[in-house]
C-alpha cells in the first residue's frame, strides 16, 4: 500500500501529527505565501478590493464551518454576528479613537462571540432545522436592533468607520489593509487547524458525529456547543470588523440574510468540516460574480442585452453551481482536491 510518498518514514508521534506531512508541501506553502505578499504591487484597485473581500470571506467561512461543519450546529445567524463585529468596530473607532486597531478588532470579535453564545443557548435543546429557525430569529433580532438603535448604529442610514489606526499610522488604503486582512487570515486559519488537532476541536467533531456518545465519553455538551458558538462568532465578528474597515461605511444593507446564505454556500461547496474547504469555498463564492461580470462585459460588444441579464444570470449560475456540487461532489471542493492528490501520489498505479 502506498501511503505518504515513498521513503517518508515517521520517526515520532509529533511528526506523525504534523499538519503538512512533507517538506514538499511546506515549500509549496512558503512559495505561495511569498507570491501572495507581492499582490499589492501589481493588482489593480479593482482586484485589490476583490482580494481583500476574499480574505475576509475566508475568515468568516472558517468561522461558520467551525460551528456548522465541524460541530454540526446549523446557523443562519452568521451575517448578524458579522454585523455585531462591524458595528463594534465603527463604535470603537468613533468613541475610542486612540485604541490600536488590533485591540479594536479583538474587542469586536469578543463582542460577537458573546452575542453568538447567547443566541447559541437554544442549541442545547434544538437541532437541525429547528436550530436553523432559532438562529434565523437571531438574525432578525440583531437586524432590528441595527436599524433602530440610532445612537450606536446610525439606524437605516448607517455609520462611517474610521480607518484602522495605530497612533499616527493608519491603514487607509486597500493595499495596506491587505496585509492586515491576510495576516489575520493566516493566523486564524492556522489557529483553527490546530484547534482540531487538540481536545476542544475533537470534542466538537464528536458532538457532530454522535452527540449521545460524545456525552458518554465525557464531553459536556452544553459547554462545548456554547464554546463552538463563541469561537465561530469570534471569527465571524473579526471578519465583520475587517469588512467595516474595508467598506468605510456600514449600514444594515451590508448584512442581509442572503449574506448568511452566501456563507453557508461557501462551506457547502468548499466542504463541510474542512478548513481547506472553507478557503476554497470562500474564494469560489466571492470570485464567481466577478468572473461572471467580466464575462458579461467582454461579451457586451457582441451581445449588449447580456449586461441587462447579468443580475439574474448571477443568481442562476450561483444556484446552478450549488446544485451541481451537491449532486456531483457532495463532500465539497476539498474532497475533490484530496482525490486529485491521491491520484497523483499513486500515479501511475491509480487503480
Amino acid at each position: 500500500m502506498a501511503t505518504i510518498r515513498c521513503g517518508d518514514f515517521k520517526t515520532s508521534y509529533a511528526k506523525d501529527m504534523a499538519i503538512f506531512d512533507s517538506a514538499f508541501a511546506r515549500w509549496c506553502l512558503a512559495l505561495f505565501l511569498l507570491a501572495l505578499l507581492t499582490v499589492p504591487l501589481y493588482a489593480s484597485s479593482y482586484w485589490m478590493d476583490v482580494t481583500n473581500r476574499v480574505g475576509i470571506a475566508i475568515i468568516g467561512a472558517v468561522g461558520l464551518n467551525i460551528l456548522t461543519g465541524f460541530t454540526g450546529q446549523i446557523s443562519l445567524g452568521n451575517a448578524a454576528f458579522m454585523a455585531v463585529g462591524a458595528y463594534a468596530t465603527a463604535y470603537l473607532g468613533a468613541h475610542l479613537p486612540g485604541l490600536p486597531f488590533v485591540l479594536t478588532i479583538l474587542l469586536s470579535g469578543f463582542l460577537a462571540a458573546v452575542v453568538g453564545m447567547v443566541f447559541g443557548v437554544p442549541s442545547l435543546r434544538l437541532k437541525g432545522l429547528y436550530l436553523a429557525m432559532a438562529t434565523l430569529a437571531a438574525h432578525f433580532i440583531i437586524e432590528f436592533v441595527a436599524t433602530h438603535w440610532n445612537d450606536v448604529t446610525g439606524g437605516v442610514a448607517g455609520v462611517s468607520v474610521a480607518p484602522a489606526s495605530f497612533f499616527k499610522y493608519s491603514l487607509d488604503t486597500d493595499s495596506k489593509l491587505f496585509y492586515l486582512i491576510f495576516g489575520l487570515m493566516f493566523f486564524l486559519v492556522f489557529f483553527a487547524k490546530n484547534l482540531f488537532r487538540t481536545k476542544v476541536g475533537k470534542a466538537f467533531v464528536a458532538i457532530r458525529d454522535q452527540d449521545i456518545s460524545a456525552e458518554v465519553m465525557g464531553v459536556n455538551l452544553f459547554k462545548y456547543k456554547l464554546m463552538s458558538f463563541g469561537i465561530s462568532s469570534f471569527y465571524v465578528g473579526v471578519a465583520g470588523s475587517l469588512l467595516a474597515y474595508q467598506a468605510k461605511y456600514i449600514s444594515p444593507e451590508n448584512f442581509p440574510i442572503t449574506l448568511a446564505i452566501d456563507y453557508l454556500a461557501m462551506i457547502i461547496i468548499g466542504g463541510m468540516g474542512s478548513i481547506l474547504g472553507s478557503i476554497l469555498g470562500a474564494i469560489f463564492i466571492t470570485c464567481l460574480p466577478e468572473l461572471l461580470r467580466l464575462g458579461a462585459s467582454s461579451l457586451s460588444g457582441t451581445f449588449p442585452s447580456l449586461v441587462g441579464l447579468f443580475a439574474s444570470l448571477k443568481l442562476g449560475v450561483f444556484g446552478l453551481a450549488i446544485v451541481l456540487f451537491l449532486v456531483f461532489e457532495p463532500d465539497g471542493m476539498a474532497e475533490r482536491w484530496r482525490k486529485i492528490k491521491t491520484y497523483w501520489r499513486l500515479y501511475p498505479f491509480s487503480y
Binding site: N194, G218, N220
Partner: protein, 265 residues
C-alpha cells in the same frame, strides 16, 4: 465486605406507559466481571442506560464507589470512572480510529482553546502524551493496522473492538458492555472474550456486561443478574442461576434457540 464498585437500589425506569425496569437492586464487586442476562426486551439496555446516565430513573438510586450519582449528567459520571459501549455501535463514524480513541482521553486532557489553537508547546506535549496512552491500547487490542482508517469503513467486528478500545481509553474503573459479542463469528467472539478477561486481569477494571451467549457468560463472569419483563428474577453465580426454576421458566417460554441453551446446559 468492601464498598461495592456499583450499586443499584430499587431502580425504576418508565417510558410513558412502558415500565422498562421495575424495582431492580443489585451490586457489583470491585475487580469482578458481572453479567446481566435476560430475554429480548427484558430491560437490560435500559438498566445500562440508567447506570451511565443516558436516562434518569424515576425512582431508586445508582451508587458508584460509594457516591450517589443518580442525578449526575453522563459526562460527570464519565470523569468519575464510568465507561460504556453501545449495543448498536455508537462510534464517531467520520473520524479515524485514532481520533475516536483520543476522544476517550477527553476527561484526562486539560488544554483549552488557546493552548490548543497555538499548539506548539503545551498543546503538542499533551497530544503526544495522550497519543502514547492510546497507542498502548491499540497494541493491547491488536488494532495497529487500522489506526488511521475511518471507522465507518471498518467491518462490524472490528468496529466492536474499536468501541471497546475507545471505552478503555478513558481508563475507567467500571466498564459497561452492552452485548459486546452480538453478531460476531466464533473466532471474533473468542478474541473479544480474551480482551475482556485481559482488561479485567491486567488493568484491574471492573466489568458489567450484557451478553446473550450463555457459554461466554458462564465462562467469564463470577456473578449473573437475570432480568425478565423489567424485573430481577435471579442473582447469583452462573451455576446457581442456571439451576433457578424461575430462570428456566423465563427462558423456556422463549423461542430463541441461542438463549434456550441456558435451560438445557
Amino acid at each position: 465486605m468492601s464498598t461495592p464498585q456499583l450499586e443499584a437500589k430499587n431502580v425504576m425506569l418508565r417510558f410513558g406507559g412502558v415500565t422498562a425496569i421495575k424495582d431492580v437492586s443489585f451490586a457489583v464487586e470491585p475487580g469482578a466481571i458481572h453479567a446481566i442476562i435476560g430475554p429480548n426486551g427484558a430491560g437490560k439496555t435500559s438498566l445500562l442506560n440508567a447506570i451511565s446516565g443516558v436516562y434518569r430513573p424515576q425512582q431508586g438510586q445508582i451508587i458508584f464507589a460509594g457516591q450517589d450519582i443518580t442525578r449526575m449528567k453522563p459526562y460527570e459520571r464519565t470523569s468519575r470512572g464510568l465507561a460504556r459501549t453501545f449495543q448498536n455501535i455508537a462510534l464517531f463514524k467520520n473520524m479515524t480510529v485514532l481520533d475516536n480513541l483520543l476522544i476517550g482521553r477527553h476527561t484526562h486532557q486539560h488544554c483549552g482553546i488557546l493552548k490548543g489553537g497555538f499548539y506548539y508547546g503545551p498543546g503538542e506535549r499533551e497530544e503526544v502524551a495522550h497519543r502514547m496512552v492510546v497507542e498502548d491500547i491499540i497494541d493491547f487490542l491488536e488494532i495497529q493496522h487500522i489506526r488511521k482508517k475511518i471507522v465507518g469503513t471498518l467491518a462490524y467486528g472490528l468496529q466492536k473492538r474499536v468501541e471497546l478500545a475507545r471505552a478503555l481509553a478513558l481508563e475507567p474503573k467500571l466498564l459497561l458492555l452492552d452485548e459486546p459479542m452480538a453478531g460476531m463469528n466464533a473466532e471474533e467472539k473468542e478474541d473479544m472474550a480474551r480482551f475482556i478477561i485481559d482488561t479485567n486481569e491486567d488493568r484491574g477494571t471492573t466489568v458489567l456486561m450484557i451478553e446473550h451467549d450463555m457459554g461466554v457468560v458462564m465462562d467469564i463472569s463470577i456473578r449473573v443478574v437475570v432480568l425478565n419483563f423489567g424485573v430481577k428474577i435471579a442473582d447469583g453465580t452462573p451455576q446457581e442461576v442456571q439451576r433457578d426454576p424461575h430462570v428456566q421458566k423465563a427462558y423456556l417460554g422463549q423461542e430463541d434457540a441461542e438463549v434456550a441453551g441456558v435451560a438445557e446446559a
